[in-house]
């Protein structure tokens, strides 16, 4: 329950809507019982031929209860859902601010987008806490207890039986089944992952499976996984069915006991017979309000798990916050110089280090290119310079100050980054460029868009989620435009034009370098053309720096870079 404390706290911000939904819920529940009680009484009374005015009153009451019930139900639904969505918005903002300090390392651990989507899924599932876990039992309890009190006015033994029925059907049975169901949910989730993995392998590896004649065995395996998954789902479904059947049977048993006891009490003369039909109908209806109780434990487990996972992340975030250095970067009064000394880096849980003993010097205002085959550690090195992750050992200094002691916000203010997989937000070009600064005029934005040859876009052009409506090259150029507008004195560029055609690439890069001629630039390059004018080229392979020097020097050295260049010359039709 402790995991859920923060959810409850966030929930109570919306207490007004909460109270309203509970009140209407109770009203709806009570009027349902009242309708049946009334009609039971009405028909019995009518049999005794009472004066007409009494009947008229009860008929009128019946209509009143009916209308109240329908409208109260409507209001309950309306307010409970409204509260739920408001709570969701509170949970989201709360989480966003909590997760924010964790951002870079969150990405280190959750390198696949899937896990991030799961965090989102967990947050969304918390909305069920109010709607399906918190308030239904309250409503049920109030309605039930009121009903019990009402019946006690006519016969306390009947009231007692109802109370007993409530305890069994509302609490005992759901609780027992919840315990039994616990393992199954986890098992199903695991089987679902397995099915997804098998399907992915089957589809993505189709060609290789076909060529190696493994298609049919993989197909069989996939079918088997699917069957096991479906069977487990079936087991779960049937258990739920059994749960509600047992619950239903106990509620019927309670009604039966009410009938039997009522009949006995009437025949013994302890209860007026005119109330018998009413008591019977009450007992048959009041259990309807207990129906949502069967799904409470399931949702409770779900939300508890979600809250548990999320609060472990929050705790980590809070720890991170404490560790966070409050060191300050003295205002950079010019393009920074950077120094790496014996930097090692290894992703947690991986056997091989990604970077081994990397040392380099980037003087203020210098232009450096990093090249090397895929998987050689270029991007990781750039991420380390950005302080997205700390090095496993070794130091990185900027302006002579240790990066580990610098305030990140202060650092990032001075950096214009173009990373791989730049993120674009849903909205328009203007909104995406405005990240670089609030007071950038449309004219300025248009000017920069033309620098990067995106004249066909205007500041009002729509950008879909993750820039889905832009081509790879367009996204890269938009990211360059954003970096240009930011005017940082350190430019960190990770293969910024790998999807851009060579001619445009040359123009854009020329423009970028002219605009930043005084700044320090680090450029990871996917090819070796156009590097002739760089101050320094660093060649990496398997996480190590194996060569460095100017283009001229490296070519004369006839080493790794030279041979890479020779291969590149021998390749044609690279990027069309």
């Amino acid at each position: 329950m402790t995991e859920l404390r923060f959810v409850i706290k966030l929930m109570f911000i919306e207490r007004k809507d909460m109270y309203i939904s509970i009140i209407y819920g109770v009203l709806a529940g009570l009027s349902t019982v009242a309708v049946f009680a009334d009609s039971g009484y009405l028909v019995s009374k009518a049999a005794l031929l009472p004066p007409l005015y009494i009947l008229t009153i009860f008929v009128a009451l019946l209509k009143l209860f009916t209308v109240i019930r329908a409208f109260a139900r409507y209001a309950e639904r309306y307010y409970s859902h409204r509260a739920t969505f408001t709570i969701l918005s509170n949970v989201r903002t709360y989480f966003f601010t909590k997760l924010e300090p964790l951002a870079p390392s969150l990405f280190q651990r959750f390198r696949s987008g899937d896990l991030l989507a799961r965090v989102v899924g967990d947050v969304e599932s918390l909305q069920n806490f109010f709607l399906r876990v918190y308030y239904p039992p309250i409503v049920m309890l109030v309605v039930f207890l009121t009903t019990v009190l009402f019946t006690a006015m006519f016969s306390w033994p009947v009231a007692l039986i109802l109370l007993l029925g409530l305890v069994i059907t509302g609490f005992c049975i759901p609780f027992i089944f919840a315990i039994k169901q616990r393992g199954i949910q986890a098992k199903i989730r695991q089987l679902r992952t397995e099915l997804s993995t098998d399907t992915t392998e089957f589809l993505y590896g189709f060609l290789d499976l076909k060529l190696y004649q493994r298609l049919s065995s993989k197909e069989k395996k996939l079918s088997q996984t699917s069957d096991v998954y479906i069977e487990e789902q079936e087991v779960k479904g049937k258990k739920e069915q059994l749960n509600s059947a047992v619950n239903h049977w106990f509620s019927l048993l309670t009604s039966w006991s009410v009938i039997a006891l009522g009949a006995y009490l009437v025949s013994a003369g302890e209860v007026d017979g005119v109330f018998l039909a009413m008591l019977v109908l009450i007992s048959l209806t009041v259990f309807e309000t207990a129906a949502p109780m069967t799904e409470v434990p399931g949702y409770f487990e779900d939300t508890r798990h979600a809250a548990e996972r999320l609060s472990s992340i929050i705790n980590e975030a809070e720890k991170q916050q404490e560790l966070k250095s409050n060191g300050r970067l003295t205002e950079l009064d010019g393009p920074p110089e950077i120094e790496c000394k014996n930097v090692h880096f290894c992703f947690p849980g991986e056997a091989r280090p990604t970077l081994t003993d990397v040392s380099l010097q980037l003087p203020s205002g210098s232009k450096t290119a990093i090249v090397g085959p895929s998987g050689s550690g270029k991007s990781t090195l750039l991420h380390l310079l950005l302080k997205l992750y700390p090095p496993s050992s070794g130091t990185i200094r900027i302006q002579g100050q240790d990066l580990a002691h610098l305030d990140e916000d202060q650092l990032w203010k001075n950096i214009s980054p173009v990373l791989q997989g730049n993120h674009f937000f849903y909205g328009c070009v203007r909104e995406n460029l405005r990240l670089a600064g609030d007071n950038i005029s449309d004219d300025k934005m248009n000017e920069v868009l033309s620098y990067v040859k995106l004249d066909h876009l205007s500041v009002d052009s729509v950008v879909l989620e993750k820039g889905a409506n832009l081509s790879g090259g367009e996204k890269q150029r938009l990211a360059i435009a954003r970096a240009m507008l930011k005017k940082g004195s350190l430019l960190l560029l990770d293969e910024p034009t790998s999807s851009v055609d060579p001619i445009t690439q040359q123009r854009v890069m020329n423009r970028l370098f002219t605009g930043a001629k005084d700044n320090t630039i680090v450029l990871i390059s996917h090819n070796l053309t156009g590097l002739e004018h760089m101050d320094q080229i660093i060649v990496m392979d398997q996480g190590r720096i194996i060569e460095s020097g100017t283009y001229q020097e490296l070519m004369e050295m006839r080493g790794y870079f030279y041979r890479m260049k020779m291969i590149e010359n021998g390749i044609w039709g690279q990027v069309q």
Partner: protein
């Protein structure tokens, strides 16, 4: 939509079981009302002693139990039907995918297909587990209840008959309205709902640009907008249940009024039928309302089924192989491309009229600008695609007259991005020869040749290190070398090779060249070539442009014969120099 119903009807046993349990439930509901009413009448009006109703009480308990048991069986049957249907749908999809070779070419859409096989199939469930059983239950039970009321008091039955149809009518009217409203909102809703994920995914970008605080406010705003938009849609849904509730409650109230008046004023009805009708009426309306809510659950299934059926009805292209064996000589087979054409679909790209002959042991290079159809040609040669016209002749016989296994045993395809399955490095190499027993020694030689020995020594678990989806990632060069290891193990007589364009380390480059040269000694090798030296060495170059073969011959011949080729070479050399 129709198909789901047909599928349900195919499961005859379950259908009968559902109908039977529904019938029993209907009868038990009537019996329950009869017994309760008679107990109350006996005790209250007839003032009988308690002992007189004991038998009836026992019967009532039995009725309750039978009703509960039947409801359980009814629900269970629906769940079993759902499992059956899900199995059928998923199996159909898997079979479709495994027999449709065009599949190999549409990697981009695989994500969607994975969802189709997993989640979309799961969405079929509610139709069978909820909607369909409820429909049978409601239709049978409502008729039985109505009949019982006719028997006891036909006036009430008339009221029920008049009010009941209002329920489906209103449901359809409001359902249509909701749907329209939802459709209007659908784009807005997905955008607003996705905002949170969007912000989280862009968190690093936001931090680097110092915009985190503003974003939190935006999340709040979009969540509240989402609330407003969703409530607009939900209001209609709630309104629909409000109307249904009013109709059913009004029906019940009308009946109560009717029996009340007839009991007291006209005195032409007794207590027993009056109470009986009052007990039955709510059950009658409830069962009708339940179809309504089950319908909403079933609706998603229908949309899901439509998606799957669309996919199943898409293009089919199966290949039938023969049973001819390839003559088991050391010499690789000869290959002839006889007027080969291929197309993906009307507006898509196609290959046409390719003619060529490959001698055994020759080196063939396929070149041309991207989108010329090089990879498709490779797939046609591999026997993965079926040509639209023409054929590939292997040892003068059409390719598809050979035994499939026999053919693929002789062939290996090294793509630019070899697929690594989740499993160990060893599993991934041995996949090339699943049946052969490979000695440690042999494996060692293969690893050595593919340049993997050093990598494996570095790893704690050596060759048993897990890689692929579940394991750790490999660099592009390492994947290439694993593919080479597969080739060395298999020793194929035909090699199809898609030469890498960029990004390999020099070590892999040199291994690649050495390995291909060695493998080529005993095989015909057909390369989609990007390297000049591969092209210069080739015995025959096929120069493709926009799906047409525009030049054929050695490097020298092509330079003389084909103008485009000459320009291409000149352009490239110009580019490389500058």
């Amino acid at each position: 939509m129709k198909q789901l119903k047909d599928l349900a009807k195919q499961q005859k046993r379950s259908m009968y079981s559902l109908s039977f349990t529904a019938f029993v439930i209907g009868c038990m509901t009537v019996l329950q009302a009869l017994l309760i009413v008679s107990i109350v009448t006996n005790i209250f009006l007839e003032e009988m002693p308690f002992s007189a109703v004991i038998l009836q009480l026992a019967a009532l308990l039995a009725v309750f139990s039978v009703r509960g048991l039947c409801a359980y069986i009814h629900g269970k049957t629906g769940i079993a039907m759902a499992s059956q249907a899900k199995k059928q749908f998923r199996q159909a999809l898997i079979t479709q995918y495994s027999h449709n070779p065009v599949q190999a070419s549409i990697k981009g859409q695989s994500g969607q297909k994975v969802t189709l096989v997993t989640d979309v199939v799961d969405e079929i469930d509610p139709y069978f587990s909820k909607y369909y059983p409820q429909r049978i239950l409601s239709s049978i039970v409502s008729i039985i209840l109505l009949a019982a009321v006719v028997w006891q008091n036909w006036v009430s039955a008339v009221i029920m008959l008049v009010t009941a149809p209002l329920i489906p009518v209103f449901m359809i009217i409001i359902g249509k309205k909701t749907e329209k409203k939802a459709l209007q909102h659908v784009e807005k809703l997905t955008v607003l709902a996705g905002k949170f994920l969007d912000s989280l995914q862009g968190l690093v970008t936001l931090k680097l640009f110092g915009k985190v605080k503003e974003e939190a406010a935006l999340i709040k705003k979009s969540s509240i907008d989402y609330r407003t938009a969703t409530m607009d849609v939900l209001k209609f849904a709630f309104l629909s249940s409000l109307v249904l509730e009013l109709i059913s409650m009004l029906g019940t109230a009308l009946i109560a009024l009717e029996v009340g008046l007839r009991l007291v004023i006209y005195q032409n009805i007794s207590f027993f039928p009056a109470f009986f009708v009052l007990a039955i009426a709510p059950e009658f309306y409830k069962t009708l309302k339940d179809v309504g809510s089950a319908f909403h659950a079933g609706k998603g299934s229908m949309a899901a089924a439509e998606k799957i059926i669309d996919e199943l009805e898409g293009s089919h292209q199966t290949i039938k192989w023969g049973n001819k064996m390839l003559s088991d000589t050391a010499c690789p087979p000869s290959m002839v491309l006889n007027n080969l054409s291929f197309t993906y679909g009307e507006d898509h790209f196609s290959l046409h009229g390719i003619n060529a002959e490959f001698e055994p042991n020759s080196q063939i290079a396929i070149i041309g600008p991207s989108g010329a159809g090089k990879t498709s040609l490779l797939h046609l040669l591999a026997g993965i695609y079926k040509p639209a016209t023409g054929e590939v002749l292997v040892n003068d016989e059409p390719l598809f007259t050979y035994d499939e296994r026999e053919w693929f045993d002789k062939l290996i395809y090294i793509s630019q991005d070899p697929y690594i399955f989740s499993g160990t490095i060893k599993d991934n190499i041995l996949i090339a020869c699943p049946e052969k027993k490979i000695s440690e020694n042999e494996l060692g030689t293969v690893l050595e040749k593919a340049g993997l020995t050093e990598l494996i020594q570095q790893l704690e678990n050596g060759i048993n290190t897990s890689i692929g989806e579940a394991g750790r990632g490999l660099s592009g060069g390492e994947k290439q070398r694993i593919a080479l290891a597969r080739a060395f193990l298999k020793r194929p007589s035909i090699i199809l090779f898609d030469e890498p364009t960029v990004g390999l380390d020099l070590y892999t480059e040199s291994i690649l060249q050495k390995s291909i040269a060695e493998l080529a000694q005993t095989a015909t090798i057909i390369t989609v070539a990007h390297r000049l030296h591969t092209i210069k060495q080739a015995d025959c170059i096929l120069y493709l442009e926009k799906g047409t073969l525009v030049g054929k011959g050695t490097h020298k011949e092509l330079l003389e014969q084909t103008k485009d080729y000459l320009t291409m070479v000149e352009e490239h050399q110009g580019g490389a120099a500058g």
